[in-house]
Symmetry: C2
């Protein structure tokens, strides 16, 4: 098998089904899945996930104990239907829907949460799981290739790793979606080549994901849209965070020589991320190009493209609202030159985030006075969602920014000490809230704590944070820390 | 200025001083340093650091308030003499000597601890500090170049970032040391090229670090060896950790297709790391080459080279004992073909650790039941040492292994909950102790905790860890966590 795409070999795909393929019903395809199989599935940003086969598995009366490994978040067929049917025993690497999350928190589903960039190679090398069956959505399929749907995620690696392949051919998405796809599959170590992408908007692959034709056991035809994102309207706090972010970015562009010619951004997934994108539209960038190099395309990016503000956008998923999908599908050609979808192994890859000088902007549940960021767990125990790509970008960014409201429902999100750390003080550069900025770079722990309290916390919470800090400092040592009151509300 | 070396331009360097250079005494050179300057200095692995100028600063009666930024650890002139003279106000990115550490813990010196791989570009972009004066050790110097001494560290980036340059020309090291050096300086974002290194032992630069001749203000001549490492003899626990590691590596080689042809290792700095290298000599690797791609060359690697076990070794520092330095300096040609020293921006770079499939083996102070690793602080407060390169390797490794004795002085190093996290559960694959292995990959938090308690903890500590785990699990949620007893001894 080829290790990567090489140019637009074979030209555009103009029919849905090419060749003599094993078309089957969803129920028949589900029979290829063993009761305790490890399924590796398409899907990222809750779109492009398989739908009919997971639903058929959920509707069966089989006693299933499946491990389901996706690229990122997937939709209700897996995270709701299959979870509620009790079919999920193990889930990697991301989850964000209540039906699955509640079962993880109840100890019924084991959950492991690695960074998403490296899932492809970790599955291919058998480091995390031994992949039995790949179930992936496509908009077109041939005897040894498929064209992914609204996300690429880890599909290229997962179809290479699995013993069997089931393809869901979804006719609801236009074939023109292929114009967004740039499938390049990095090789395995050792001594693999660098990824030959020299600019964020460049193309180095083709629209097809290749697979071993011997593995294809079923093609299931479907015709249904993704369960798309619903973004809430921005709150006043969101708008204030966006204003703080805009001011910080303006100052950083003046200061940082690596931002002299271009501002390359990544935004985390979600309503706050979407709202923050609007801050960028109002930013005075001078002659600088604005470029997006992230993991998902959200509606806010389409707005920036429409306004002529954005030179290019690279991601692995079209995580749009229903309106956003309608807008894109109505005229794919309008966006296809500027928007590229890549495998998550490429969109999120450390080497590229580093080379392109990405300014990463991700949200969090809470930030502690040392600058540790918790993105995933409440009270150190209860899972809210996975770490996703936030670590891939924070760790390798030119500047890593964590943006969040200072308080939610009167509870401060700037806390003395977080019991769950997803991003350490070593990886967190700048905290932005609706009250201000704490630039933690080069600062020691006490200086960090003071900047977070005085600049970022809500004024109403500052006194109790100061009290904690004063008490902790009296105990001595490099990091102000008092185990006796670290977790006081 | 050139952004990188390009071949062995100019051929070997055959004299110490070339051209009309501003030779000065250490005291005169120290006068170029302002009282509250930011000094960016050579040094990594406690060798190759400047000596005479820091000592002259320490001996002066000036009221100094210096920020000192190194590549990694440096020797006594900065960490002891300058610290004891009260001259250090701020220190980045690593420290491991009592005189400086005690003052950091007393709040007298501010300390910030970023990952070392990216220090060069962060200093060049002014993200952490504004570099005033570079003070670097060399074995030869010309009008616009120098040849580093026993470490390269971040010297290429730091001399490019600083307004002024002071070179300490050290005649104690043989000129043949240049044969180890491969200086390539990555460009700045955006759109910099990938580093063109296609194998761990390849060479892509030359022995010279280039600088702007306008910045050179003084050359100070010295003739003294580094204050080298002293390794303690391996303890029984070290030997048992090594035996566990050897068994794990043997099993992983059988299992992991990315290790079919070659085993590429990195070991952390220190006595345990040095002892673990001996485990590798006894490993049955079949036809596989053994390669080292890490940050320091320790004595154990010289043993492997002498035994013909090691194909090549790449690092940024010769962190040897005095005996090891004697061995190397007595016959540099014996090792020069197989050992390469690179800038830390290359030796530790995420993209290369990833491409070469490095198996990273680093020690730690403690590991908690979620798999979080604390490498730097005792009791969440007191600094022991910086994170160094452990994050650069753990985060990007094919397999990241944390190796440590299960207990030290009857205190378990497997703890319920660590108050200081340097490496999160997302980055930690395998824990190895003198009692066994916990392979955390693909496991949920309770499974991880059980593997750590039953396989890795010392038998005498298992019952109390089980008690904690049982109590924490009763509280419910994804991660077993009980704030009431999380920090109980």
């Amino acid at each position: 098998m080829r290790e990567s795409g090489a140019g637009h070999e074979g030209g555009p795909v103009d029919q849905r089904l090419t060749g003599d393929l094993p078309v089957a019903s969803a129920a028949a395809a589900a029979d290829y899945v063993g009761d305790d199989d490890t399924l590796v599935v398409s899907g990222f940003g809750s779109v492009g996930d398989p739908k009919a086969v997971p639903e058929a598995l959920a509707a069966s009366d089989r006693d299933l104990s499946l491990t389901v490994v996706s690229g990122g978040s997937v939709g209700p067929p897996i995270e709701v239907d299959l979870a509620e049917a009790g079919g999920l025993a193990r889930r990697l690497p991301f989850t964000n829907k209540a039906a699955t999350r509640d079962r993880i928190n109840a100890g019924e589903i084991a959950f492991h949460d690695p960074h998403v960039a490296r899932m492809g190679e970790r599955v291919r090398t058998g480091a995390l799981v031994d992949a039995d069956t790949a179930v992936v959505e496509a908009i077109a399929v041939g005897e040894d290739w498929l064209v992914p749907a609204t996300s690429i995620g880890q599909t290229p690696a997962y179809v290479a790793a699995a013993d069997r392949l089931v393809v869901e051919l979804n006719r609801a998405h236009p074939l023109a979606l292929q114009r967004f796809h740039d499938v390049y599959r990095p090789g395995l170590p050792p001594d693999r080549d660098p990824i030959p992408l020299s600019a964020p908007g460049e193309r180095i692959g083709d629209p097809r994901v290749r697979f071993d034709p011997e593995t294809l056991v079923a093609v299931v035809e479907t015709d249904r849209r993704d369960a798309t994102y619903e973004f809430r309207d921005p709150t006043a706090a969101d708008e204030a965070v966006a204003a703080t972010l805009r001011d910080f970015l303006a100052a950083e562009m003046e200061r940082n020589p690596a931002l002299a010619d271009r501002l390359t951004l990544q935004f985390g997934v979600g309503s706050l991320g979407n709202a923050l994108m609007s801050a960028v539209a109002d930013l005075d960038r001078g002659d600088r190009d604005l470029v997006y190099f992230g993991e998902v395309i959200q509606d806010g990016l389409l707005d920036l493209l429409d306004a002529g503000e954005l030179a290019s956008a690279s991601a692995t998923s079209l995580a749009l609202s229903a309106d956003g999908q309608d807008r894109l599908f109505a005229d794919p050609g309008r966006y296809a030159d500027d928007v590229t979808l890549r495998p998550a192994s490429v969109s999120n890859r450390a080497a590229l985030v580093d080379r392109f000088g990405v300014v990463a902007i991700n949200s969090a549940l809470e930030v502690d006075l040392s600058g540790n960021v918790n993105s995933t767990h409440i009270d150190g125990r209860r899972l809210v969602g996975g770490v996703g790509g936030s670590g891939d970008f924070n760790r390798n960014a030119l500047v890593s920014i964590t943006a969040l409201p200072a308080a939610v429902d009167d509870r401060s999100r700037i806390v003395p000490h977080t019991p769950h750390v997803d991003h350490t003080e070593h990886d967190v550069d700048v905290i932005v809230t609706d009250h201000g900025v704490a630039d933690l770079r080069g600062k020691g722990p006490t200086e960090r704590a003071e900047a977070l309290v005085e600049n970022c916390a809500a004024p109403v919470h500052r006194e109790s944070l100061r009290d904690y800090l004063d008490g902790a400092r009296e105990r001595g040592g490099h990091v102000p820390f008092d185990p006796g009151s670290a977790f006081d509300p």
